[in-house]
């Protein structure tokens, strides 16, 4: 009798210690679902969703404050990926947030008119513009996410969005002209 009580208490103590150790050792910092959502977002930090960046939007989705269809740069692909992750129905993009653009764009500063005012540098959410007061401002094309936030910021209207020229690194096969028809059992027999 005494032996049984002793064994059970020792076991309970052991498991208690184990649980206590595990809760400290494997402590989760922050909400892991926020990280997962954040990874699916395009990291343009453009603010078109109404939140000041991708991470705040991810937090809003996780807490249920925002819908999953407010990311125009991500487009339908991102909505679909978020729907898969969260186990909800995908919805069409919220037109209020803006139109997705098909071609990847990059901001270009036309140097002959740049007055070195730094307003575009302050507008850039990803620090993709090199420049200082009364010095030439230049976009680092690799860092530019194409969010267009610098375009309205420029007082002399010298920033334009240009399509990214194809290079051996970013060129892809063009899509076929004909729409893609998945092969089903019926169509496979016809062929």
């Amino acid at each position: 009798m005494l032996m049984a009580i002793l064994i059970v208490s020792v076991l309970a103590g052991l498991f208690g210690l184990l649980l206590g150790f595990a809760s400290i050792r494997f402590k989760v910092e922050g909400d892991p679902i926020v990280d997962q959502i954040d990874q699916l977002l395009p990291q343009t930090q453009c603010g078109q969703c109404g939140f000041p960046g991708c991470r705040p939007y991810a937090e809003a989705i996780a807490s249920g404050e925002a819908d999953i269809n407010r990311c125009p740069p991500g487009g339908e692909t991102t909505v679909q990926a978020l729907a898969d992750l969260l186990g909800v129905e995908p919805k069409p993009l919220d037109a209020e947030a803006g139109e997705p653009s098909d071609i990847p764009m990059v901001a270009v500063i036309h140097e002959e008119y740049c007055i070195g005012c730094t307003l575009c540098i302050q507008a850039c959410p990803v620090d993709a513009i090199v420049g200082a007061p009364k010095q030439m401002h230049t976009v680092i094309a690799d860092e530019c996410t194409g969010c267009k936030l610098c375009v309205p910021a420029c007082p002399v209207d010298t920033i334009t969005m240009e399509p990214i020229p194809p290079t051996p690194e970013n060129w892809t096969w063009p899509f076929p002209d004909k729409p893609y028809i998945p092969i089903t059992v019926e169509t496979a027999h016809e062929q």
Binding site: V108, Y113, C114, I115, A132, P133, M136, V139, P155
Partner: protein, 95 residues
């Protein structure tokens, strides 16, 4: 500590991460990055330098993760642009 050195031209941008000792200056990072060899047109006496959009001296000390930027002079004269705009009777380039 890690810092970056940046020099941007319209078609080509130099962005190089360098590992510098604590207390290193902007000049140390620029010399270490090799940007001067790649772009011989840079003259550290005339090209201004700075960190993240703020002008600094070559002898200023760096903080970890700073981006040392080498700037180029403006092509247009902002005052001249403004004078011409005023002549046209517009207060701003924006319509």
């Amino acid at each position: 500590m890690k810092v970056e050195v940046a020099y941007a031209l319209p078609d080509e941008q130099f962005l190089q991460e360098v590992e510098v000792p604590d207390g290193a200056t902007l000049k140390d990072a620029i010399l270490q990055s090799g940007v001067l060899e790649k772009y011989p047109e840079i003259d550290l006496d005339s090209n201004k330098v700075g960190i993240f959009g703020k002008l600094h001296n070559l002898t200023d000390a760096l903080q970890p993760n700073d981006r040392v930027e080498i700037y180029r002079p403006l092509i247009c004269d902002p005052k001249e642009v403004r004078r011409q705009r005023a002549k046209k009777g517009k207060t701003s380039a924006k319509v």
